[in-house]
Symmetry: none
DNA sequence: TATGAATGAGCCTTCATTCAT
DNA sequence: TATGAATGAAGGCTCATTCAT
């Protein structure tokens, strides 16, 4: 499918760096034939981004306000990390887009995404006030989850260069992040 | 200066997205004159990357094996965050490069950088064994510092879209990260 | 019908400017289906031109050697002007073709059309010699009729821009041309 | 010069039919070099049209309200015919543009040109009221001059095909048109 | 050093035409 | 007949690079 090939190409080269020829090649089609299905290069890119957005934000949606706070957040962290492992191209696609100022996603970032973050931040604040979660800034907590999980996809080259072949970065990261959020978020006992 | 303009352009557009014309314009020179000083577009880009690398890694070099562990690490975190605030273009430049597989920096990542990380990981392990630092994977600890601090520069568009105009992301981040690493790294008392 | 749509498109855009897609759209067919009936774009264009040629030259054929000279010519002028009014697309189609050097019609121009003009010129000369028509070059007389009548179709945009909405160009033109050819062609009395 | 080559190409092929390659070839330059001087194909075409417009309308400007009516008009006719002979490419360029609905010149036709025609029509009407010119519609008189003179440039292919090699179309046309306008415009004596 | 001019290579896109059904 | 799908060949335009001065 075209979007499959486009994902590979755009995530690896960025929008400007990618060529329709590469997308066509990756999809096993001729260049004009790709443009038979999509009006333009930008149309492919846009379809890709918006088409993947929902899936990308799915883990956050699944945070359950009625769940156990630490478990919910750890589950979210684990799900995000798993997404980085399973869908690193998607992660890099979004990273590329945001890195360059999010020319296409800007409205969504300040709209749909912001709303969703506000919603979750509200939940976290509720938990904090109830003493079920340590006091931290909920939005920066979310940023930290994004940063720490997506890092393994977006900076994979660097991670692998430093760790070498023997390591399983994601398994180690899961361990590390589990510890990190336990210690950060466990409410003070006493 | 040419590299100054090139930094702005390459960090905002990526290598393929940037044009020599834009670099020349940003530097106040004509295009052929830029190419009088640099042999090619790639030469500019390479000079930029390697020229900034030392500065970029400076904060890590300053971790003092003989210092107080938590203070050293918090100082490192604060320095990295400050660099994201003061040099976001540099952060994005490196992010772009690594995101696309680090075609130019690959050797350095697996060489100089890996060595430096190994060195610091050794220090951290020493501290851990001495009971002066909580037990965490030292390399992933370093990754976490990179991810959490550079996120504010690399994903600035997203951070601002979510926080809105009123917030000072870096001040809040400093607070958050300070808490995070305190809780994560304080050795078990008792 | 395909040629009906093709006439609209080719007369408005010229051969190179028209696309088979536009022709197909105008005809309510799919592009491959248009090419099922016509071998190629040029084939459509050629069929259109040659198919309309006879109709286009009909008024000239109807000049009656046995008629009253002035009346015959005035009738021809009126018929040509009426054709410009009723069939402006045809007029523009031929104008486009001739303007670009008549790549397809060249042989017809120097053959069939030239013969017909020669024939009518002979008739006019007979009338002139008989003192029934003022002495003018009969071929340039024919050119003048073509130029003056087709102008209102071919340069319609300009005519309308200059006259504005209120005018009826063709009615005025009929009046003007009637006067013109009366004065030009009435044999000297006396 | 580029516009020289562009004139040849655009007048012979129309805007859509012409290619930048042809313009470049006609100008003795490479294709990108043409685009070094003009921003786009349309920019070349526009420059050509607007740059030639003043020259094209010059003969009409020279009609002298204080001159002898018939002589002024005959001079205008002769000048226009001479322009068709000397600048047939310009004539065809404008014909192509107007034929296709004057997408670029439309404003000028309804503005500057219309004003000029209105002005001259006023002069003609003055002459008519003074009994120095036969009564004819002054605007259609102007259309007739355009049609009859430009015909020899725009339909040159047809004119030559019909007249054959031996004739000098323009010399004959001058004779014919001189007679035509004398008879049309001479005020009734008596 | 500095730059106006020039160009080969490449990229996005269009389009006539063909293929498969 | 009819059409969705496919493509080779072009054409407009960009851009890194080179040339000439």
């Amino acid at each position: 499918m075209i979007l499959e090939g486009a994902l590979t190409v755009f995530s690896a080269q960025g929008f400007r760096g990618a060529t329709i020829d590469q997308v066509a090649e990756a999809a096993g089609l001729s260049k004009p034939n790709v443009l038979y299905y999509f009006a333009s290069k930008e149309d492919i890119y846009r379809s890709l981004l918006t088409g993947l957005l929902d899936m990308w934000l799915d883990p956050m949606r699944m945070i359950d306000p009625n769940g156990e706070p630490l478990a919910e957040i750890q589950r979210y962290v684990a799900a995000k990390l798993q997404m980085s492992r399973d869908y690193p191209r998607e992660s890099r696609l979004f990273a590329n887009e945001v890195l360059q100022g999010a020319p296409l996603l800007n409205e969504i970032l300040g709209g749909q995404l912001r709303d969703m973050v506000d919603d979750k931040a509200g939940i976290f604040n509720g938990w904090i006030e109830a003493g079920r979660l340590a006091k931290v800034d909920p939005r920066h907590l979310i940023f930290s989850i994004w940063a720490l999980t997506q890092h393994y996809a977006d900076f994979e080259t660097q991670v692998r260069a430093i760790l070498g072949e023997e390591h399983d970065p994601y398994a180690e990261a899961q361990q590390f992040l589990s510890t990190l959020y336990d210690r950060l978020l466990a409410p003070d006992r006493g």
